[in-house]
Symmetry: C3
Subunit: 301 residues, 3 copies
């Protein structure tokens, strides 16, 4: 956590119109850390979860003097309440702006970048990356030890974590006259939208005859495998260790739980969720929750 | 995809004896791309799947002018049909020969290669690899960020993808007098045959007192773990995210589905298949299909 | 395996008080290898497993002349028996001391190490590591291509394998006013104790508002994901490809089987075991064995 002291005025200015009200002292009020409940102190910026039944009591018991709250909280002696619609979102924005160290754009001298790569403005490429003839959009961060193959396209504001491998040949084979396997050509590419995250050591294979696609705002966690010709929809979440087989489609806003595996050519519909460890062998329709091996519509277990 | 224009004569010469017949125009006929059905155009080399019931209709509807077909297809106006036994295999061979950019042999200056390594002819070793005292056969490709430990032997024509770790110490521990774990020595090695593929970020641990073995033509996908003393048979396929525990044997031509996990000392027989997400805790006999958690002989679910 | 010839006197001196008795010849007796049963020869140091019913017969049939045995074995003609309480532990200690090549301390010139890193004595840091402002204890080995982020603390005598990523931002997101995901700040760290092992390509994310913690002697295998704010207890074993979600606690001496996945906020109690492929969605109490999807108390399947 970056060391910062934030006075109330700075916080209010940053939050702007999203502040509904401020209750309590303003003069000289400051915070200097974010913390979970076990580590909260007088100068933590705390937030109170509106979903909790005993929200008012939690707020009163907080050791912090400055709280982000929703409008259902009553005034509390000697605390400053910043009233917003969504306290956690407000906390997240403050944390990202003031407590997170930002990447400084630049290409590390050890990165091996092809002359044919087209790299946007304000891009960070870290040590020991190997970058082929790719297109990389503005403000994208590529951490370290990342491998991007020729033809890969990555949008703007993306975040690619360590050891990710994007655009490797897909796992498709034919059998030759001697009964041995040989690769079916994998000459599609990988096309990634804006604001996408690719987790550490995650692998995204290039398509066979057409492209593997990851749409805007999709977030893929560490150690996932996205096979050739898969298509991950906008705002979809693919949680750690998941295996998305060839030609699968994951819908918009879908949530693929940790260590899910999905048979090739199967789909998960928009807004659907697969529970941890799901093994998807049939299409999951939109707006449903499935779990199990094989995955089925979820009822309380 | 590499840019290439291929005239019919070149294709026929390359395919040689495997061409049964050519139906339609030959003069000036060329193709310049491979594509899936959505992206096929006039100059695509298309192929027609003999397994489809409406094969003739698919062929007639193709936008392409040159089609690889089997001998059941009737002549089609203004199309050139190249008749072969297996259209997809023919397409794959043409793609690999003419549309895939080949690796140029050589050792990247950033690769850290031990003086004791014995490296064959026409080998590619890419950036940021760390290669111990290994034996590497002719025509093998080792992409980037790969780690090969002392004692590892790799055959010829192998393909080792990014971030693979081969020959790391196995995960075997004893308990000392204070009740704490310490490692059992892992002094075997990893012996890999010819035409083997090891996927990106896949880990193959060295054996404890004898070797871990991967036989000729075995294909291991991304993000797999092959534990100490496992033995992967010839032409076996291990699909992404699978976990093969210590001392397991996978038979010849077996197909281990995505995200399968196999308990230590268990075996999958020759020609057997485990479905996606299988959890194998009993031996799978040869020539069977198993699936589920725990895996059992597969019947329609 | 390092080449070594070990005379009986050296072995006995090394084992010290743990030797209960020596039966048979001592003069000129030596061993020069460790091996499994298929590869045992006259000069192998063999060990006899006291758990086997036919222990005496196995000992008599061994091709080796020097055996580590427990006190239940009778003298055998022309063999030298070294009697100890735990033959396998004795073998492991001899193997580690005499047959395993040790790392020589030092920082490889290609490692990118931040000026702010505090590195203990006798530490090995291998090629292409990227080390932020971390604290690394004495005698710790960091192999190659490892990424340690700012703030990560690693104790002494740890072993961090290739491609491990420690301290990357956790996978926590909020939804902004436009319905798109953005990261919740991840400003905790990762605190790792002494004698801990982290497997190849394993990822351990930093905590959100507090730390992810791995306690002394915990052993984590290859390709595991440990999410933000998880806590792995002392001497716990996390086997390959396991996925430990956010804020999970794994108890002391717990054994998390291969490819287990655990829902966030769930716990595995002290000394408990989850079978291969377990999907843990409820807390596993201490001293129990669970398996299945969803995991339940284990009975014979």
């Amino acid at each position: 956590m970056k060391k910062t002291t934030l006075y109330l005025d700075t916080i209010l200015e940053f939050l702007g119109d999203s502040v509904i009200n401020v209750i309590g002292d303003r003069e000289g009020v400051f915070i200097d850390n974010l913390a979970d409940v076990a580590n909260t102190n007088e100068t933590t910026l705390d937030w109170i979860n509106p979903a909790k039944a005993n929200e008012q009591q939690i707020a009163e018991n907080s050791k912090a003097k400055v709280l982000l709250v929703d409008s259902s909280i009553e005034p509390i002696d000697s605390k400053t309440l910043i009233v917003v619609v969504n306290p956690k979102v407000a906390l997240a924005k403050i944390g990202n702006e003031f407590f997170v160290t930002k990447y400084e754009a630049g290409i590390h001298p050890t990165a091996v970048v092809s002359d044919g790569a087209k790299i946007g403005k304000n891009v960070f490429i870290g040590p020991y990356c190997v970058i082929g003839d790719c297109i990389i959009g503005d403000n994208t961060i590529i951490t370290s030890n990342v491998r991007l193959y020729n033809g890969v396209e990555i949008g703007s504001h993306c975040f690619i974590k360590e050891g990710a491998v994007i655009g490797g040949v897909g796992f498709g084979f034919e059998i030759d006259d001697n009964g041995n396997r040989f690769r079916f050509p994998q000459i599609g590419s990988v096309i990634i939208g804006d604001y996408v995250e690719i987790g550490a050591n995650t692998c995204i294979d290039r398509g066979a005859l057409s492209d593997t696609r990851i749409d805007d705002y999709a977030k893929i966690d560490n150690l996932c495998h996205i096979a050739h010709n898969a298509h991950i929809g906008r705002n979809a979440m693919i949680i750690a260790c998941s295996e998305i087989s060839g030609s699968c489609t994951i819908g918009e806003n879908a949530w693929v739980g940790p260590n899910t595996s999905i048979r090739d050519w199967r789909n998960v519909g928009d807004n659907s969720l697969t529970g941890v460890g799901s093994v998807v062998v049939k299409d999951v329709p939109s707006n449903e929750v499935w779990a199990g091996n094989p995955a089925k519509p979820f009822k309380n277990r």
